[in-house]
Amino acid sequence: MRLRMPFGRKPNEFPSHLWTQCPSCNEMLFNKQLARNLNVCTKCEHHFRLGARERIELLVDKGSFHEQDAALTSGDPLGFTDSKPYPERVAAAQTKSGEKDAIITGEATIGDNPVILAVMDFEFMGGSMGAVVGEKITRAAERALAERRALVIVSASGGARMQEGTIALMQMAKILGALARLDQARLPYVSVITDPTTGGVLASYASLGDIIVAEPGALIRFSGERVTSGTVGEKLPTGFGKAEFLLERGFLDQIVPRPQLRERIGFFLTAFRAASQDLRWSL
C-alpha cells in the first residue's frame, strides 16, 4: 500500500506496531490513542474494526458481563479439507486469537436492562458462522426466553462457514427458530450490524431485529463484491452496500456512532420495558 507521508518524514518514523494510517483520511494515528478512542479515527471518525472483547466492554454496564458457553468448539461434520484440514484451520485461528470461535456470548446489563449479549469477531476465520456460532446464538436466545431478558447480537461476518457445508447453512434455520419464539414471547431483540456483515449472517439474524442499527461506513451486503461484479458485471452506484445506503433504502433504523451505542441500545430497551405493563422481562 502506498503511504502518503507528511512532508519531511521518512516511512520508518511510523513503525506499524506504534502507528496506523487511517484508510479514510490518511492521518497517521498513534495506536494507543486509537484504542483509547474505541478504534475510531480521531480526525475523521472512520470506524476501524473492533474485537469482540473490546466491543463487549464498550457495550455493557461496567463489570456486568458474565460469559456463557465459553467451552464450545467446532467439530468437523464433513471431514473437510482444502489446502489443509478444517480442524487445523480452526486450531490455527484459536492459537492466533486466543478465542474458541467467532462469537462470544453471555449475560449482562445495558443501561440497567437485563440482556443476553452475543458479539461476533471478524478476526476469527472471517467471523464465519458454523455450528458454534449457531449453537451459541440459539442458546443465547433460549436463555433470553427462559429468563425473560432482551437479546442483543452484534454481527461481523463474511457469512456461513463453507467448511461446515449445509450444516452451516442449517444454523440459519436453527437460530431463526429460536428468534421466532423470542418474538412470540414479545421479548426485544436488537441487531447491531458492524463492518463487515455479509452472506448468510445478513440473510438471517442480522436483518431481523425489532431494532436494527449499524455503525457508520460498515459494509453490509448479501453478496460478496466478487460475486456481484463477477455474475452481473454492472457498475455499482457509489456507497453501494454501505450502511448509509441501507439506511436510505429502508433496511436500517439508524446509523449509530460507536461511542453512542451503549446509551442508544439502553434507550430502546428501557422504552420497551416501560411501554407495556405485561412485559415482565425486567427482572
Partner: protein
Amino acid sequence: MLDRITGTKRTVEGNGHLPVDANLITEPAQLVSRVSAWEAVQAARNIQRPHTLDVIGRVFDRFNELHGDRGFRDDPAIVGGIADLDGRPVVIVGEQKGASTEENIARNFGMPHPEGYRKAMRLYRLAEKFHLPLITFIDTPGAYPGPEGEERGQAEAIAQSILLMARLQTPIIVVILGEGGSGGALALGVGDVVLALQNAIYSVISPEGCAAILWRSPAEAERAAKAMRLSGPDLLELGVVDALIPEPPGGAHTDHAATAAAIRTALAAQLAKLERVPAADLMSARYERFRAFGALEEPGVTAPPPAPDSWWRRIVKRAGS
C-alpha cells in the same frame, strides 16, 4: 452414469421407522452405487430435468397460479398457487428454472429477487390462514446476487422467509428438485419433512464459488463439490434431508412422468402422516429438527447435544402412533 435404485419398496420390517407406503430412500445403503459429487452437480443442473411447473402439472390437479408480492412485481423465478393433491387442496410455492435459454432468461435462471421471496411469504401466510398444507419445491442456483436485489433487501427477504417458515402453523413438506443454492434455497426450505430427488444437490455456496475462495480457482469446482458433501446420499447421511425420492434409472431428465409419479407417491404418504400430528407437536418437532444440526465439542459439559433423530421417530413418537 446415474445410480440404479434398489430397495424402493422396503417394508416396515426392514426399517423400524420407515412408513410402509413410502417409496423413499432413507438409508444411503439402499443405493446400489453412488454417483460422484460432480456427476450429481451436472444432473441437478441438467436443463432437461423436470422443473417446478412441469412437476406441479403432473403431480397436482386443478393448479391455479397466484401472482405477485402485492408490493413491487411478480417475480417469474418463483411460482406458486393452490392445487389439489388427491382431492385435497394444498398451497404450492417453488423456484422456477427454464427448459430453454429463452425461458431461462425470462425466469432469471431460477434466481429469485426479493419480491419473489415476498410473494412466497404471502402464500405461506395464506396456507396458514386457511389451514392448508404447504408444499415447496427448491430449484435455484441461489438468490439473485445483483444490485437490484441488494437495493430491495435480498438478505432481509430471505431472513423473513426462513423466520416465517420456522413459525408457520401448518404442515410443510419441502422437496429439493434440482439445485439447492444456499440461503436462496433455505428461504423455501424450513419444513417438517425435507425430501430431495436422488440426484438433487444442496450446498452453502456453489462449488465454483467455494473453489474460487478456498482453492483460489473456479477450476477446482469438482474438488470443492466433493468436499462440501452436497449430493443426495451425503445430505441423507448428514440428516439435512429426511429421505431421497428415487429417480428413474437414467435420471429424472429421461422420464418426467415417472419422476413425477414418485414425487406424488411420496407427497401423498407424508401429507397423510403430517395431517394426523397436532399443531403444537408439529411446531416443536420442526424446532427440534433444525435445533439439532451441528457437530460440537464442549469439554467439561457432561451431556452432549443429542444426535439428530430421524424425522419419523420424532413424529411417530409425538403422534403416539
